[in-house]
């Protein structure tokens, strides 16, 4: 790794701030608060700058300068949205908000239906048998595939029964079905928890690798060791 003076300063600051944040694990303290506030401030500054240069400037200011006057419309809607801050004329901000809600709802209805309902239903209509009699689309390639398909179909069916509240969950159909549905949900929660643990440990590993691969060589470079 090439160590220039700005790089060295950056690594030292990053290491200090990481330790400040980790210090919260012992208990709340001013160093943690300092790092937390700095993070919020720097993030806000970075976001503002990015929004301006990559969005407002590029998508509106430059286009208007080229004579594309229609690009001023989103800018006006944005200004109207900020009018919320003024109580007397705050009601005007409902117009751009209504525009946003309308666009999002229209967009999502189409895509949700297509991608999250129809496609997902399609993905649960699966061949449940295998063997010479069940050829082509009617049959699964192997018996183990057929078994997996059974688990998916029954899992979806029982989970749906669990969320069907118009009938009391009793008896061999609704009672047993909703019970299996609960187990299916529990298994999915377990998988989610496992993945969450993996994710959090990964983030810790990331910071530890930073200390090992970047900070320690920077310390050696700073003090002329090695």
């Amino acid at each position: 790794m090439e160590f220039t003076v700005p790089t060295l300063i950056g690594i030292w600051v990053a290491a200090f701030l990481t330790l400040c944040i980790f210090s919260f694990l012992y208990h709340d303290n001013p160093l943690y608060k300092f790092a937390e506030h700095l993070f919020v401030g720097v993030s806000a500054g970075y976001w503002m700058s990015t929004y301006y240069w990559q969005s407002i400037r590029r998508d509106m200011v430059d286009k208007i300068a080229e004579g594309d006057w229609i690009s001023i419309v989103p800018g006006i809607l944005g200004v109207l949205l900020i009018l919320r801050l003024f109580p007397k004329i705050g009601w005007i901000s409902r117009w751009p908000l209504a525009f946003l809600v309308g666009i999002s709802a229209g967009f999502n209805i189409v895509y949700t239906m297509q991608a999250q309902i129809l496609k997902q239903i399609d993905a649960t209509i699966l061949p449940l048998w295998s063997g010479p009699f069940w050829n082509g689309a009617m049959g699964a390639a192997t018996w183990s595939d057929a078994m997996v398909n059974w688990i998916i179909v029954l899992g979806v069916f029982c989970a749906l029964i669990y969320f069907y509240f118009s009938v009391e969950h009793r008896g061999p159909f609704f009672g047993v079905g909703s019970r299996i549905g609960i187990y299916i949900l529990m298994i999915s929660f377990g998988a989610s928890f496992g993945y969450t643990v993996m994710a959090r440990v990964s983030l810790l590993i990331g910071r530890m690798l930073f200390f090992k691969n970047e900070f320690w060589p920077a310390v050696q470079r700073t003090f002329g060791m090695g």
Binding site: Y195, V197, V201
Partner: protein, 271 residues
Amino acid sequence: MHFLSTLDRRWIYVLIALSVGIPMVFPLKVPLGKVSAPSRRIYEFIEKLPPDSVVWFGFDYYATTRAETEPGARAVARHLFRKGHRIVATSFITDGALISQTVMNALAKEEGKKYGVDYAILGYKAGGQIALKKVCDSIPASFPSDVNGRPLAELPILRNFRKGRDAAMAFTASDTRMFDYYAIVAATQYGVPVTGVSTAVMVPELYPYVNSGQILGILAGLKGSAEYEQMTNMPGEATRAMDAQSVAHLVMVTLIILSNIVYFSQRPRRR
């Protein structure tokens, strides 16, 4: 064992820190195991891509999850470069504008690739899934210039690649709902083969899309990235991190079992 029920939680933090730190200093070389099918599908798809394909590469993660998403993004981008494909990087997350420059420029330098010819960085576009749809329809309408304000007409890579939907593959490194949007818009509506790396937390929510074929393949967090590094024979950060991950998981499982034993042994018995 009853001391466990009153144990200060800070001892657990110390234990986890040690379980992550020690394997980094003394590597155990724990085997990774079988490569999962969703990871393998990405590798096989890239191997079969026609030469000189253009891949749409989304840097859609915040700096806070770099440790988890970036190794996978690097591994796939490096694989694409080595196979002679070209990359157009976009971002629908503010942080991605900066991250894409850091990652792509460093990688291009290592692989000897030229900006504008082998890769381009278009920067950030606000608007989430609506912006994504616009990129599918027209890149120049969505990004009038690249991340540094250079007009797209000056970039040879974008002369024949005008629509996101024409990409040979879309890959997103994501820690937000953008991954869903790629599946919902780019894959379902436009038929673009969508792949990506996500944080492990998001993976259970994304698997239904993998099952339905809307997502072609997915690298599940650091583990998926390590699998990819293994397949491409390019061990990197993810591979080095897997020892620590394995030991930390072992410690977590042990703690869960112990705490359950303590809980059930202390629970009042029914009469």
